[in-house]
């Protein structure tokens, strides 16, 4: 006896269900197709949401880990003082404090002239990497050039540039910054902070190892500097990334909601198919009841049919969803294996379970109706 036969022996309702479904293959196939589409819709829309979120997180980069402290101009504070920076350093548990001066200057290189933003940063190595040359921990001389500016002016390490009247040697070209950043260096020049003829700072960026640490720093800085008056404005991206995550959560729920509609439609289709097939088989069901099959066993048999449709639909739906996920993640993120992220597997599992539950629920009414009919009525010619 094969394993399947043993299963049928144990659960006779399954045998009857399988035979009944094979009676009208096209109809059963179409009913299962509805579930396939529903499961595919839920699973793939869920995965689509994950892909969007992953893509967006990649774009956002580490901004959740940075806070930006600027003087509060509305209250009349134009600069951050050395004392402020010292205070910020003191209250920052984890993370690197980067004080920044900023101006615009005319950049001249041979015949080329352009207006560029110039940042004075003592320790650019804390924030940036160089693709060519180096971004030193302590920038004492020379200039670092942002990638797009360097490309535009065809600058290389070793070239000389003039900012207003001062000449700098290019010591490094910065890596292209893809993500959103508080201080985008792509089109800017970074020079030693001492080369600025001014005291105080236009802003301070604190980079922390994690979003939580960044948040703690923000709270501490706010307490320290804004104790008596609103001296500084603190721009925290952690709250934005949180908001973005929340948004994607809602988007996902919405997408899955849309997918669920198709599953409801599939459920109605199954209800219809089961109702039709039980009406067609009413005599047979009457015979079953007459020869001693209990009402509950008839219900089980018809629910098994609906459940089997749901199972088959869910199975193929899941396979198609995985394929769709592979394609999607390959196209959007170039990493097809992201399809097997735990959250995606959860969506697929959830979709399959929904599919089976929907089918069984749709089978309830036809099953109850068929089983409740008196055999005398159904056997009447």
């Amino acid at each position: 006896m094969s394993a399947l036969e043993r299963l049928y022996r144990r659960i006779p309702a399954l045998l009857m269900a399988r035979r009944n479904l094979s009676r009208n293959r096209l109809r059963s196939g179409l009913a299962a197709l509805g579930i396939i589409i529903g499961v595919l819709a839920i699973a793939s829309l869920g995965m689509f949401g994950t892909t969007l979120r992953t893509g967006a997180t990649e774009q956002l980069g580490d901004i959740g880990n940075e806070i930006q402290i600027t003087p509060n101009a509305e209250e009349g504070f134009e600069r951050l003082t050395d004392r402020d920076v010292a205070d910020i350093r003191r209250v920052t548990d984890e993370g690197t404090v980067v004080p920044i001066r900023q101006r615009t200057a005319t950049l001249t290189r041979g015949e080329d002239r352009t207006i560029a933003t110039v940042y004075g940063i003592e320790n650019p190595g804390a924030l940036y990497e160089a693709s060519d040359g180096q971004a030193p921990e302590r920038l004492r001389q020379g200039a670092l050039v942002g990638s797009s500016l360097a490309e535009r002016l065809e600058l290389q390490v070793g070239n000389r540039i003039t900012l207003d009247n001062e000449s700098f040697r290019v010591v490094g070209i910065l890596e292209q910054q893809d993500g959103i950043s508080l201080l985008n260096p792509n089109g800017a020049v970074i020079v030693p902070i001492e080369s600025f003829d001014e005291s105080g700072y236009s802003q301070v960026v604190v980079r922390s190892p994690s979003g939580t640490a960044a948040n703690e720093t923000a709270v501490a800085v706010r307490e320290e500097l804004n104790d008596r008056e609103e001296k500084v404005t603190i721009f925290e991206l952690g709250s934005i990334t949180e908001g973005i995550n929340q948004f994607f959560g809602i988007l996902n729920a919405f997408l899955i909601g849309i997918g669920s509609i198709s599953l409801v439609v599939a459920g109605v289709a199954i209800l219809n198919v089961m109702l039709m097939s039980t009406i067609e088989r009413r005599q047979e069901i009457g015979v079953l009841r007459a020869v001693g099959v209990q009402k509950l066993d008839v219900v089980k048999m018809i629910l098994a049919e609906a459940g089997l449709l749901g199972f088959v639909g869910g199975f193929f739906g899941a396979i198609l969803a995985v394929l769709a996920g592979l394609v999607l993640n390959q196209v959007v993120l170039s990493d097809p294996l992201l399809t097997f992220a735990p959250v995606n597997l959860m969506y697929i599992g959830l979709a399959v379970v929904f599919g089976i539950v929907t089918s069984v629920l749709s089978g309830l009414y036809p099953a109850w109706k068929a089983a409740s009919e008196r055999p005398v009525e159904s056997l009447r010619k």
Binding site: L15, A290, V291, Q294
Partner: protein, 237 residues
């Protein structure tokens, strides 16, 4: 009526409400059958034969009166209890065979036991199919069987739980004369060998020759006819 009756109807009435009119399908029917007896219930269409068979088979309940199965009152049993009684004590044979087209011959025979975890059912089923002469066609589907073969599968199905009563509704109605005779001979064999009470509702005069007793049902009133062979003259064939 007698203590040995396996099934008994006592003062059974069956009324149907049809609009404002009340139809009486059975009027004070008294009937009993003993084990090993073959009773034919004859009568024109609409005389209440099927209703009577349904009441005997615990498929329908009388409006009034008592149904006794093996001496105990089964008139007011619940649906579940009646189903169990049907399964254990009664075998049904229908004019249209009512085999399940998706199941093989042996599976059809097993249907009454299907939901009961009955480990010997398969062996009994095979034995019964061999007995009705279908040992070679165990795995055939109903559409691969002739009318007579289908009816024999149905008889095997009716016998799978070793019932005390076999109820047949026009068992030869869809069979040619020769095949019908084979089926009736099988009934005779069964009543003798298995001590089963066979009760058949029929139009078929051929059946009279095989019955021990014929009762007539006309407009819901049952009359005993006596030994069929004495009366064939009167009805003609």
């Amino acid at each position: 009526m007698t203590a040995t009756s396996i099934i008994e109807l006592e003062g059974v009435w069956k009324r149907y409400q049809s609009g404002t009119e009340t139809l009486e399908a059975l009027k004070d029917v008294n009937f009993a059958a003993e084990p090993g007896e073959f009773v034919a219930i004859m009568g024109p269409s609409g005389s209440g034969k099927s209703t009577m068979l349904n009441v005997l088979g615990l498929l329908d309940v009388p409006s009034e009166g008592v149904v006794r199965l093996d001496g105990s009152d089964v008139t007011d049993l619940s649906d579940e209890e009646m189903t169990t009684q049907r399964k254990d004590a009664i075998g049904f044979i229908f004019q249209d065979f009512f085999l399940i087209p998706t199941l093989s011959a042996i599976e059809n025979v097993e249907v009454p036991t299907l939901f009961g975890r009955d480990p010997t059912a398969r062996d009994r089923g095979v034995e019964l199919l061999e007995r009705v002469g279908l040992g070679e066609r165990i795995e055939h589907r109903p559409d691969q069987l002739s009318g007579g073969q289908k009816q024999r599968v149905a008889i095997a199905r009716a016998l799978i739980n070793e019932p005390r009563i076999l109820l047949a509704d026009e068992p030869t109605g869809n069979l040619d004369r020769k095949t019908g005779r084979d089926v009736l001979e099988l009934f005779t064999e069964l009543k003798v060998e298995e001590d089963v009470a066979v009760i058949a509702v029929t139009h078929d005069d051929q059946l009279r020759q095989y019955a021990d007793r014929v009762v007539n049902l006309v407009d819901g009133v049952l009359t005993e006819e006596g030994r069929p062979d004495e009366l064939t003259e009167e009805f003609g064939t």
